[in-house]
Symmetry: D2
Subunit: 241 residues, 4 copies
């Protein structure tokens, strides 16, 4: 029986249904392949997509979600603000969030970061090499010195996000760019990881090291017990005892 | 003639018009006293308030603003989202922002932080002592080891903000609480400083050290020349030359 | 059978042998009480003291140590530089280090921090209240909003250490000071936690919440699998394949 | 008359006296070219080298130094520990320090960082492109999106330093590596900047953008007025008034 963090993989699921090249790589959707990677690692994973009611992210689903993965690209604007608010609240209350690739422009990521989250990009099939810049980090567990991806979309700096609390990967691209590809944040009681690779026209989510990073990141982002967050009008602690 | 950063002091300006006790302390509004402190230090300062058209924050005004101060409390919800978006954009493009006291719950601060910005509070006239925890920081210039304020509203941890990039002050309150009272952030090309003291029922903005910190913070937050932020579809740099 | 991180508790063990008041609180030494707290939590703990050969920190002992606790005060200068170098190397290779109270002035902590690690202090039996400023952090697991200690030595800011990567606690003292009492760092592959309380004339290490924090910190500081750190002359990665 | 920060450029000055290829590029030493760049920008610059008495770093010289530049490579071990201690103390008291290229392995940098400061390297004349990752930072003022250097020594991650407080540049190398090439730290009251480029066999310190960064870094690292750092036995602040 699966134990450990319960994951919900959210995918926009539009490219795969309208673009044959993408469908050839991800016939059942990017979410299916990501959920497969998680299950292979013994984790409990369900999926949710944009066109389901409430985008598949009802309060009941989030109640059973320890870590949420997010992949979106074409339809960020179609995600309802109410659902974005609901997800934000859950993250601040401790749910982990892993934002993948073009999810950098999602409403939820921009809302949690407070910046434009903009970057340079190019669909040219560059070679990408993700160097580990925080070898001690559990998200890097089991990797070598770098991850090599034959062909990917290029992202280039400047990446307009708050300074990461830890930068686990920095990418090298054959066309001449670099990119901070693995960025860790804490917000409220929640942990957030942005992981760059995963363009829909490349089979990146079948790459063993990419899958390993996502599994590691789920374990890192899962809520841990902490102290309570209490707010509001409070009598002097000196008089409470 | 005044040189240096051009400051706009934004104030909600409601307490002062409806509460005699507040009016006694700030008869022309908190903004007037803050602007006075800045002018005394040789800075150019204008004011803007909630009930002016566009809350006094037209594009033209922001064009002439290097650093924006923000004080609000009762009417955060009345600030139009469009104006909040405009201010956010300016901050990301380099305008400094200094958020004062109850401004922690303003739309603009919450939007830039991505968190609830919640905290504990108590209106009991505690003694507050702000200890300098980053003595090297230019915002602490000219201070002693701490700032002492006879009576203030108490704020207590946990303060639900992203981990500050620098924490310049930590407050001690006589009722038993502590608070990170001087928090620095960079977002986009902009610098943000949150400074805790300044409850409307105490003459805090007449305190010489508090005024000094605000002047220092204006100088720190003022835009500095940097490199351009460029985004979007980009050919390989290797082919640009 | 004990599992999890193997801990070595290092103690200078001088106060307890020359000062009756201290011996009354810690008759077998501070290390014995700390090791007891760890064993109670199911961890493997051994002890080592200054006056043992190699201060009890032979290469063989360190080979079997996942996390090292450090308490010292009177005799920092008697710790041999060679042993300090050996411990530093182990930390950079991944061994966790928890520095307690007056250990702030130990050679090993100063060497890892690069600063004076100086602070204000006063032996006046102030009340100390450690507020949780990072409620999400696993080191705060199981605590309430704060830890209260009836009587402790006071430490006051400014604490001359590098900016912590996470600040888990900030202390309030009844005499009027504050202090960053729980400071997290990563150095090389190792995790370091500085935890303030624990003056030898108070029974602080018998306090349930203090013991809980130390157990939590051991789990946090224990080495996690990561990626290899490789250095030196390296052919172009492009030619390696 | 020169105003602004007074700079001392420290150079090991060995390569230039024993290697004709290096002498051809830097006939009067790397320090002479660096001091020239600073003077061109209107700064006061003196030089100091390893083989002078006290390595040219007497207390009197340091008394007149606001920012110290450090270039060394062959003879790190010949720098006297006493001088290293003296420089460290000055940095903690507020003197800026800019560590250049192979200075990553200097005693002073390792002592201030607390880590091995190790990295990968290769003398292959790769093309280096330093991308600006903190465009808002004053050290990046006046640059474009990146600095391009035709031929340089390669440094590769992992760079074993504490997580930088700001990372201004990340380098791309044509052989396939990346490197965090502009790293900012605060230690005590001092600011430290590590800047990667500058191998002795390449005319890197004649590159206009490299010179501009060094001038910018001097301005950033120069001491600013702050609050006093006071330490030691202290009566309760509550009883001082």
């Amino acid at each position: 029986m699966a134990t450990g963090p319960r994951v919900t993989v959210w995918n926009e699921f539009r490219h795969e249904r309208k673009d044959e090249a993408v469908a050839a790589i991800y016939p059942n959707g990017i979410h299916a392949v990501l959920a497969g990677a998680l299950r292979e690692a013994g984790l409990t994973a369900r999926t949710a997509t944009l066109d389901e009611p409430e985008h598949g992210l009802s309060a009941a689903v989030l109640d059973e979600t320890d870590v949420l993965l997010w992949w979106g690209h074409l339809a960020h604007q179609e995600v309802a603000d109410e659902i974005v608010g609901r997800v934000q609240e859950r993250v601040l209350d401790g749910m982990g969030l892993i934002v993948l690739h073009s999810g950098h422009f999602s409403k939820i990521f921009k809302r949690l970061m407070g910046t434009t989250c903009n970057l340079k990009w190019r669909e040219s099939g560059d070679r990408e090499r993700l160097w580990v810049t925080a070898p001690w980090h559990p998200i890097a567990a089991g990797l070598g010195e770098y991850i090599e991806i034959e062909e990917e979309e290029t992202y280039g700096e400047h990446f307009d996000v708050p300074p990461p609390e830890a930068t686990v990967f920095v990418s090298w691209f054959s066309g001449g760019e670099v990119f901070r590809s693995g960025c860790c944040y804490t917000r409220g009681s929640g942990r957030i990881f942005y992981f760059r690779p995963g363009h829909e026209t490349h089979p990146t989510y079948r790459h063993p090291d990419v899958r390993r990073v996502i599994v590691n990141a789920v374990h890192w982002a899962a809520p841990t017990p902490g102290a309570p967050r209490r707010f509001g009008n409070t009598p002097p602690v000196e008089q409470r005892a």
